[in-house]
Symmetry: C2
Subunit: 499 residues, 2 copies
Amino acid sequence: MDTTSAFNKFRETEKEIHAYNHALGLIYYDSVTSAPKGAADGIAETMGALSSRLYELTTGKTTSEIVSYLLENDGGLTFEQKKELKEFNRDNEYMSSIPQDEYVEYQKLVSKSEGVWEKAKKENDFPSFAPYLEKLAEYNRRFAEYYKPGEKPYDVLLDMYERGLSTEKADKFFGELKDSIVPLIKRISSAEAPDDSFMSQTFPVSRQRELSARLMKIMSIDENRCGIGESEHPFTTEFNKNDVRLTTHYYEGAFADSMFSVIHEGGHALYELNGCDEYENTSLAGGVSMGIHESQSRLFENIIGRSREFCESLMPVLKELFPGQMSGVSAEELYRAVNKAVPSLIRINADELTYPLHIIVRYELEKALIGGELEVSKLPEAWNEKYKEYLGVEVPDDARGVLQDSHWGGGMFGYFPSYALGSAYGAQIVNTMKKELPFKELILRGDLRPIVGWLTTHIYRFGKLYDPEELIEKCCGEKFSAKYYIDYLTNKFKELYSL
Amino acid sequence: MDTTSAFNKFRETEKEIHAYNHALGLIYYDSVTSAPKGAADGIAETMGALSSRLYELTTGKTTSEIVSYLLENDGGLTFEQKKELKEFNRDNEYMSSIPQDEYVEYQKLVSKSEGVWEKAKKENDFPSFAPYLEKLAEYNRRFAEYYKPGEKPYDVLLDMYERGLSTEKADKFFGELKDSIVPLIKRISSAEAPDDSFMSQTFPVSRQRELSARLMKIMSIDENRCGIGESEHPFTTEFNKNDVRLTTHYYEGAFADSMFSVIHEGGHALYELNGCDEYENTSLAGGVSMGIHESQSRLFENIIGRSREFCESLMPVLKELFPGQMSGVSAEELYRAVNKAVPSLIRINADELTYPLHIIVRYELEKALIGGELEVSKLPEAWNEKYKEYLGVEVPDDARGVLQDSHWGGGMFGYFPSYALGSAYGAQIVNTMKKELPFKELILRGDLRPIVGWLTTHIYRFGKLYDPEELIEKCCGEKFSAKYYIDYLTNKFKELYSL
């Protein structure tokens, strides 16, 4: 074996693994967009068979030998090839650190817990979910210790979702955010709220579908490479850079839900559609992290989609598609309506300003939970206290409280922070972009291509080559800072609410 | 190894193979219903990787050893288990008989030829397709000889698509059909044609979608186990008996196209949805042959869907969904319109009566082609002559003539006869059913459940346990005969055209 032939073998394995990920991704996509309900068992069986082969391909003896050889003989490898190898090795090392029987037990627990959580939420019955949550937290704590002994388990988990992130950094970030946003929200609560009643008229779904197509065009999303489907919860998935799918959900009485879903998912899609050709089928393809991915979706949804300029440039389209409903509504009224800031109970329905507080609540609680400072039985109480303190709302029941999100029931601890971090990355990226592009003018003109072009040059094309922090520094010429996000929110909402 | 443990191993292999077929089937389904156009290359790559693993699983050493062992030690196996083994072994024996390099070369040729055919059809350029067609025919002839040396190649091919079928049987069947239908069509050509102009009004697609849902309900197709999608060419596919998908295509100006597509594909779907639970994931699951499958789709589309009773029971639904368009149209007028018999150029648009003649033309030509009695260069001329002779129409160009179907370009010779055979099976099955069920009354009542129940008992539940001929004999108490089909067509169209 020499380095070149070993690397070629490694590439072949990556390609085969990619095929399995494609198939598995598509089976999942189909299951939430098209599959009949009764298909669930058959889908689980097939996913099981393919996953098991995928596990073999990824962690099997042949692959491990090649990867080990390359890691020890990386003299002839380029910077990109080394990073590719490292990326590939990341998940493997994690998986290999866990005894196989525990890993299998945990997978079974997760698949059972998701159902238990769903039922508990429906029946507002936290106690039935609590023992599962306890075990899930315990497994995550233990696995983190197996993987990186000696490190704080929650730090290990944070780093898995957003490489480079730590409790220290997150504490600082969320601390600054809380200090500036909580007082702002308190002031807004006593200000006059804009009238958004026109948004809850009936908007025919067929017209909303047409709006989605128009939005994709405005965002310069190539319909030859990106499909649009419908699912209960909107999401984006990619099989390769020429095959990206985003989904939305249409409600007749809430057209803005789908509109912002399409813009949000469109941001994710653009990231995947504009990756580097040469990274295709390798471990460098695709977005680098949850946080950077959310930076793109939130940048498009909020900084662009909820801007005055976007509302203005979109208004003629809305009046064309919904002449009756939008009659007499001005762009300024649309702008104010889509930015109405109201502290509320449910994260996924929250406005741009109050959203990060929902994340902060979760961050503080899961940190304490994994850190062993908070018992599962005390979680609902702690949740309700924080909602009262940060958002000023009373949580009426656990269904609309601690049980609302699926993440913890799916075994995901350390995932939430990347949502807020993404918004902050986005604000910093736009701050840099504005020095080089007439950002607002382009939005007003309805021409987002130069913006997508800029993001391709500075973010998209790098795939997983740089870790999030490196990427932000490379893109913005300075280290990550929450300042731009805080300034953006403060300026926007002070102006909106005349504070 | 003992028989029991070997059979269990065999079952595990079948199950794993089934998972790959599920994934591959879904990737294909997605590619024609949802995937963006640019996804084609990535889809081909992934299908290649999964197919290659599927080939390994199916023909690999471990599997072959187990199958050989079981074939030699089948004493302890039940009748069903023996048949299961035989079914599994069918494709393997065929594939193993062909030298691997020739098999690979042929696969490449097919995948290239499909593109060449498509282009040739678009550009009405038969000569550009001719050399490919020659090679395809040559390969099919040779492979048939490898597989079953000493047998007539076209017989071998017929048997592959419809086990038990031979040139001798097909000649007899098509001869009888031609003798009775050709004169009937000639008489109809000079009779007065019904007015079907109301069918080409504008029927909104959203209402047509609603009609599809209603038709599925009428046919008692379980929406929990059967999804409906949209694709250029309607088709049905199944991943298991709880996950069947049918597709249709909506044209605003031709609502009956989609209506009959849904009923036709619904017939295929019912066959798959009502198989035997115990055959799931084994080689006995699914429809036994193309011909029996078509018997079900054509039975529902034509014998039921184009019956006077169905038109009557459906009329209130149509008037509800399309009040303006169907105003003043009677059930009898609908019945006559959907049974308008006109000799035409294009098989897939042909009516029930003239349809089999399109098949006869193809049967006679491909038999001569594979038999070496007809040169590819003479094919267009021979095609045009037969259309003139049997259907009385002049073929204006090869695009609407010999190039219209994709089958030959895809290397499928021997496939066409099963379409006509299916119609004949269907007529014979219904003839038997009528002795036990008030067939027409049930249709008139709009209650097809007893019909589906009867078909489940006599056809669906057997999966691949019996070969087509056995199945027909078991179901009808006598051997297959074209008589019922010919009688059905003759009586129906004589009455319709007052002959």
